[in-house]
Subunit: 233 residues, 2 copies
């Protein structure tokens, strides 16, 4: 049912929330905006479940609608996939890219307070799922515009973070802010600038944001910006 | 029907091959291995169509099997998606990561002659679609093992290439070969080492391979390996 979970995670996870509460979930927005406002404190496992739930299992063939079976295809593949017994279509599931920016203004960095699950109320760098027909940089710029309503100039790729546990790769670009005025969208409660000392380290939404910020401020001090490849375990 | 195509590409493409020849296509292996052996010369548009065909359109809901409709969802989204009129599931399609290596042995680099479409008979760096439950580096190592049967030590991320036209991001790592003996898998006709002067530049399978090789040899000469972010247009 959850073919994308690692074996080691499977036994540790609670009953999927969806089985108990038939809420509408969308991968882009998490829960329908507003539905879970106020639920600021949920367990790590619950957060993980939410993240995994973005990928609902394939039950029916996207080509003909027939119920699929999970097996190793006959084409030399070695992994179990959802295969349609009627039309033969094999359905693949692959990791997704999350793209975002480190928008900076002098010695400050722009963070957004999330108005959506998961991690409602926590602070994040502007980021979201990469879409078709855009590059990673274009996607990062789009998300920065959508979530923060910021004016900025895109700079170089800064971090590439693997989160294999949830099948994601996060890519952040540096972005030079051209104004300290923001018009956040509906996914953001508040967008504001923080110096390194002001960063709410314990209130950050994701480890990838924390790891990127730590390296950003270190590189800023050294005066040389690298591209950082990091595995989140 | 092809919601992942850019508007500018749509009119230039020929009738999708699948409409004329109902062959079994898989995204991982292209055509069923062997089916198209010998088809070494096909047009650029045909190759592009093959690449795009890796993503067959979503016609039915993967949750309940009902025929989907394409519309902008009601959750604040701004893009047209496949939405199920019965159970409300929204189906997202996102870019995929292709991960591979630049396996090197002294002043030589390992290339594989492809035994699969697209680009049967052309030379490539070992690479393939990233799978769930692995990092980009682990996926690159897996593909190098599968396609070349090489003994190697993984090194740093070397190139990140956006191919927005086909909804892909390619990531290559340097890999130090520990032996010059290879046991290529069924996807490879031949695996062999090339010096820079010997590289068959006109017989390379993909632009991302060419761009990565050009930068690899340049960095090797300079003695400093960077991480290269490149957009293929």
């Amino acid at each position: 049912m959850w073919p994308y979970m690692t074996r080691s995670l499977r036994p540790a996870l609670p009953t999927p929330f969806a089985l108990r509460h038939p809420l509408q979930i969308t991968r882009k927005h998490g829960f329908t905006p507003g539905r879970f406002k106020g639920t600021t404190r949920v367990s790590f496992h619950f957060q993980l479940t939410l993240q995994l739930m973005y990928r609902s299992p394939i039950k029916h063939c996207k080509n003909c609608g027939t119920e699929v079976t999970y097996r190793v295809p006959d084409d030399g593949d070695t992994k179990e996939r959802a295969v349609c017994p009627a039309c033969g279509t094999t359905h693949y599931e692959n990791p997704l890219n999350v793209v975002g920016t480190v928008p900076h203004w002098g010695d400050q960095v722009l963070l957004c307070k999330r108005n959506i699950e998961p991690r409602w109320g926590k602070w994040t760098l502007p980021a979201g799922f990469m879409e078709l027909n855009e590059t990673t940089s274009q996607g990062a710029a789009r998300e920065t515009d959508e979530e923060a309503g910021a004016q900025f100039e895109m700079q170089d790729l800064f971090s590439v973070l693997n989160v294999a546990r949830v099948g994601q790769v996060h890519l952040f670009y540096r972005a030079r802010l051209l104004s300290d005025q923001f018009k956040p969208g509906h996914e953001t409660i508040e967008a504001r600038l923080f110096t390194e000392a002001e960063i709410p380290w314990d209130e950050l939404a994701f480890k990838t944001v924390k790891e990127t910020l730590v390296r950003y401020f270190a590189d800023r001090r050294s005066g040389v910006y690298g591209i950082h490849a990091i595995d989140i375990v």
